[in-house]
Amino acid sequence: MSYHLDTPVLTTDRLILRAPQAEDADAFISFYATERAQFTGGPMTERQAWNFFGTEIGHWMMHGFGMFAVTEKGDDTAIGIVGHWYPRTWPEKEVGWVLFDAEHEGKGIALEAARACINHAWTVLKWETIVSYIATGNTSSIALAERLGATLDPMAAQPKPDSPCLVYRHKKGMA
């Protein structure tokens, strides 16, 4: 079987969002070794993070959408992973965001990338609903969800019922 992965590229004022590729694995693995990954399934070992990175790519192959590598214009280095995430057990389709290093925070980068992905989900992927699953205590992510106009939906189905998270629901058509 021939896989032709024709993945979209999203461009914003300052960023280029492209599909992750093998060259991004090290940045992804380094992030998942740190405490910064505590709200997104980490920290984890190099071995686990490599598997997870493989899953990110496999997600694109299965669904035709997935998480983008976030790069700054003029520099193809991945500084985060933002995009569309819908593993089999997720009750709804998600837009998620991760910036690898603290130095990239506070500049509106995650906001800019997430807004582009939400727009893409409504207008191109034609999603009917969008949520963001956020760990309790992840205050910067909660603040970002609120800046995006999302609101807490306490009645929404949980992706991992054994360890409930906050479900932020994005407003239809809005990014």
Partner: protein, 175 residues
């Protein structure tokens, strides 16, 4: 971004080895939920079991080789996963075989593994292959023996713990 790569289809007397995909998720999930996966890192939650087929595809994208979904000729339902595997944390390229419930005892693992090994030697030009086997997994050791492999050395894997590395005969020994 555009990227093309091929996952070849292999045929044996009774089996077709094809690219894994989303359609295999239910079989994967059932297998990885069962105690039969004690020797291969399971049992897993439904969420992690989903990640596995995605990871199988991601492995192909990252390494250029991977494992196939094994099917019986005339029936596209996956009955196992067999192929070439080298995630981070493995000491060498591995030939692995996992047959799902109901598919064992028919020589399928041997037949599929032999096809995958031939592919590694004839098409990829590999000169050696190993299989990682839990010493308690006598069924898998029997398959390895039938394939002409023999115990080579002990390895301490981060997740599986102490495990045996068996070595297959090289390409010249098989001709």
């Amino acid at each position: 971004m555009s990227d093309t790569f091929i996952i070849p289809t292999l045929s044996t007397e009774r089996l077709v080895l094809r690219a894994p995909g989303l359609q295999d998720a239910p079989q994967h999930a059932a297998f990885y939920a069962s105690d039969r996966t004690n020797f291969v890192g399971g049992p897993l939650t439904a969420e992690l079991a989903w990640r596995n087929p995605a990871m199988e595809l991601g492995h192909w994208a990252l390494r250029g080789f991977g494992r196939w979904a094994v099917t019986e000729k005339g029936n596209d339902t996956a009955i196992g996963i067999v192929g070439l595997w080298h995630p981070m944390g493995f000491p060498e390229n591995e030939l692995g075989w996992d047959l799902f419930d109901g598919a064992t005892g028919k020589g399928y693992a041997t037949e599929a593994a032999r096809a995958a090994r031939n592919y590694a030697y004839d098409r990829l030009g590999w000169t050696t292959l190993t299989s990682m086997i839990d010493p308690k997994n006598t069924g898998s050791a029997a398959v390895a023996t039938r394939l002409g492999a023999a115990f080579d050395y002990d390895f301490d894997h981060e997740r599986f713990g102490s495990i045996q590395i068996w070595r297959h005969p090289g390409p010249e020994a098989l001709t």
